[in-house]
């Protein structure tokens, strides 16, 4: 459907990922006994900043974003998950499978909630701006990264603000298809009573109506020359109030709506209820097979992402920082074992030897990235290295 969804998915999911990682890095930084036991080493503030900066630098890599902003269909869930796996590991921080699964669940359910609840389709842009504002705050002390983020911000405004309400509705409908049948329960939503125990979100029938909408309840009848001849009230069954003012679509300003702002804090930690996915979802969840997960564009994106990104392997594995999205290591292990099979993302494993056609294409794309690199003995060996790296995803 809409060919304008991918940048919004990437920025909003990326924004949610940063909120969660920031909160976990801060939490693990607290030198309580519990935290000490649960983590490899105590985090220091410098490490947190480094991780955030590294991930944001990678997210807003110029070449990658150029690719991202080209009109294209939304990728499969698998391909997108692979991108975020990669992004999460763009720094010295490491997440194991269970923590990565949980991180991705939290990100996707948060963005699904925001897309579903945004008052008007166009407000998806304000949700995105809330994420962008927060990302800028994360890197406010690093001007080089900040200007990188601002460039994308300007691009977002240029591309998206002229779109009609119908195009935004198409974007929203495309996103809702992407998130369809995901009913993972998130404890922060359950506690706030915005999610039901079956995983469905609560839709209020009260509060302000969207900007540009009148509260329901009035019928006006007009004569042939446009004069009002009759005015009737009806009981609308809800409890709506007048619309709030419209949020700012400028680079700076009050977005008015709160969706997309950081809902986590040290006192509101990150948690998920994984085992408790509803019966309905576990019975009917189907792997989203559209579009083709090995489509050229998807490989292209992965390749571009990698082109802009050096894999940082901690020189000494013992000194690598590991972040745990669970309270303890035991819980994390348990989560990996007990995760329902249908919730497994099955991250794409690109086999360097299997699909020759896709491979040739990928190698070609990879080739484009070797140009600016230092001369290598043979271009094919460089390609092989990159393919091998993708195998390891």
């Amino acid at each position: 459907m809409s060919t304008r969804t991918l940048p919004l998915v990437f920025i909003n999911l990326g924004g949610e990922m940063l909120y969660i990682l920031d909160q976990r890095l801060r939490a693990q930084n607290i030198p309580t006994d519990k935290a000490k036991k649960a983590t490899v080493a105590g985090w220091i503030e410098e490490d947190r900043k480094r991780v955030m900066n590294d991930i944001i630098t990678t997210m807003f890599n110029k070449k990658f974003l150029e690719e991202l902003f080209k009109p294209q269909e939304l990728y499969s869930k698998k391909a997108l998950r692979t991108v975020f796996d990669r992004l999460a590991h763009a720094s010295i921080m490491r997440l194991n499978q269970a923590s990565m699964d949980k991180l991705y669940d939290l990100m996707t359910m948060a963005f699904k909630y925001q897309v579903l609840l945004c008052p008007r389709p166009k407000d998806i842009l304000l949700v995105t701006f809330n994420h962008m504002d927060a990302i800028k705050e994360f890197v406010r002390d690093t001007p080089s990264i900040l200007s990188q983020v601002d460039e994308t911000y300007t691009q977002l405004i240029e591309i998206y603000t002229p779109l009609s309400c119908g195009e935004f509705q198409l974007i929203r409908q495309t996103l809702l298809i992407f998130f369809q049948d995901m009913h993972i329960r998130v404890s922060i939503f359950l506690k706030d009573k915005v999610q039901n125990s079956n995983g469905r979100f609560v839709l209020p029938t009260s509060g302000p109506v969207p900007y540009g909408t009148h509260s329901p309840g009035l019928i006006r009848m007009l004569s042939c020359n446009g004069e009002e001849v009759k005015r009737l009230q009806f009981h609308d069954g809800g409890n709506y109030t007048a619309a709030l003012r419209e949020g700012s679509f400028e680079l700076f300003g009050d977005r008015v709506i709160k969706l997309g702002t950081n809902m986590y804090s040290v006192s509101r930690p990150v948690e998920t209820h994984m085992s408790g996915t509803s019966k309905i979802s576990s019975q009917h969840t189907k792997v989203n097979t559209i579009p083709n997960p090995l489509a050229k564009e998807e490989l292209n994106l992965l390749a571009k992402l990698m082109g802009g990104l050096e894999v940082r392997k901690p020189s000494n594995t013992d000194s690598g920082f590991r972040v745990n999205l669970f309270a303890t290591d035991e819980e994390e292990e348990e989560a990996l074992i007990s995760r329902p099979a249908e919730l497994s993302y099955g991250v794409i494993n690109i086999q360097a030897t299997k699909d020759n056609l896709a491979n040739a294409e990928l190698a070609k794309i990879m080739g484009e990235f070797t140009e600016s690199d230092e001369p290598v003995p043979s271009s094919s060996s460089k390609g092989d290295d990159l393919l091998a790296m993708m195998d390891g995803l």
Binding site: S2, T3, Q173, H183, T205, V209, M221, C224, D236, I280
Partner: protein, 339 residues
């Protein structure tokens, strides 16, 4: 308010409904005491046929396979039955084109591909808005704003694209033909688009544009035509009643708190059904007032489908005795009948 309708046993679907305008079509087959339902899930159409005694259900799923393309299947925008005097066809509008099936979905009789460029363009390409008009026409809207008119023979697969109507400049959202069954009204068809523009047409060898009713930069997501009156629903939650031929605005209703996704009319009684993202289904009554040459609307009933963004709502019969509702992420069709 007395409870006008009560909830009945739901019909289970094979997969959940997607958030698309008018995402429910109902075909009532009186001779066989059957009702068919069609609901779109991403790239699949869920077809359910239910016997009137509520004892038998049969399911079928259609994939949007397009001709020769072996790659990823395309997303479907709408599926609707078109009832012509000689035959009923199921029409499926997708990103790649338009498919027409026999009414039970068993055989594809026609396929029309949309012109899709190799690299995706900024403007999405799709078909949306389906209506059967008079004796032999099926009209389908396109994202370019074009309305394709297909000439359908009384049997066989010799369906031809007879005309392309180019009055809309924004993506077509919905289309409806005169549903009263009476021949006394001049207008046969109304088409709506993302800017809210409504085009009123007279069918024939050449379709004739009778009137253009301007929009106000807000999508008209669902439209109906009944006894010459255009009933249009918008993203603002408003419903407007226009006289089709003149464009005179008879009534304006602040009907819903969010985007309206579906309208339907029970042609014999003038009951109007509206349903929106705000989780409400409302029933209205339209009353032609010949003395003032206008039409009046009164509100009759609300139903709140808790925590459901409704995407489809249709009466199941011509009197509005029963209606059915679908919602985003919902894996059932909810039914209501008059108490």
């Amino acid at each position: 308010m007395a409870k006008m309708y009560h909830r009945e046993k739901s019909i289970q679907l094979k997969s959940s409904a997607s958030a698309l305008y008018n995402n429910l079509s109902v075909l009532r087959l009186a001779p066989r005491s059957l009702t068919h339902f069609a609901v779109v899930h991403a790239n699949v159409v869920n077809l359910v046929s239910a016997s009137w005694d509520g004892l038998n259900y049969s399911h079928r799923q259609l994939q949007s396979k397009e001709g020769n393309v072996a790659t990823s299947s395309s997303l479907i925008m709408q599926a609707a039955w078109c009832v012509l005097p000689s035959r009923d066809l199921l029409v499926v509008a997708s990103q790649k084109g338009i498919q027409m099936y026999e009414s039970d979905g068993s055989i594809m009789v026609y396929w029309h591909a949309l012109d899709t460029p190799e690299t995706p363009t900024a403007k999405a390409i799709f078909a949306r808005g389906i209506a059967a008009v008079r004796e032999k026409y099926i009209c389908v809207g396109v994202s370019s704003g074009a309305v394709l008119v297909f000439d359908v023979p009384s049997k066989g697969s010799n369906i031809t694209l007879s005309e392309v109507l180019e009055e809309h400049t924004e993506a077509v959202t919905d289309m409806a033909s005169e549903c009263s069954g009476s021949m006394e009204y001049i207008a046969d068809l109304v088409s709506a688009d993302d800017s809210g523009l409504l085009c009123v047409w007279k069918s024939g060898g050449d379709f004739q544009l009778l009137n253009k009713i301007p929009g106000f930069d807000m999508s008209c997501s669902s439209v109906k035509l009944w006894k010459g009156t255009v009933i249009a629903a918008y993203g603002t939650g408003q419903i407007r009643l226009y006289e089709g031929v003149t464009g005179i605005l008879h009534a304006e209703v602040n009907a819903h708190a969010r985007w309206i996704y579906s309208l339907d009319i029970a042609p014999f009684t003038g009951l109007l059904l509206s349903a929106a993202e705000d989780s409400f289904v409302r029933v209205w009554h339209l009353n032609p007032a010949p003395e003032s040459n206008s039409v009046e609307i009164e509100h009759l009933y609300n139903e709140c489908v808790t925590d459901t963004q409704i995407c489809g709502a249709k009466f199941c019969d011509g009197d509005g005795f029963a209606f059915a509702v679908t919602g985003y992420d919902l894996i059932e069709i909810i039914r209501y009948t008059q108490a």
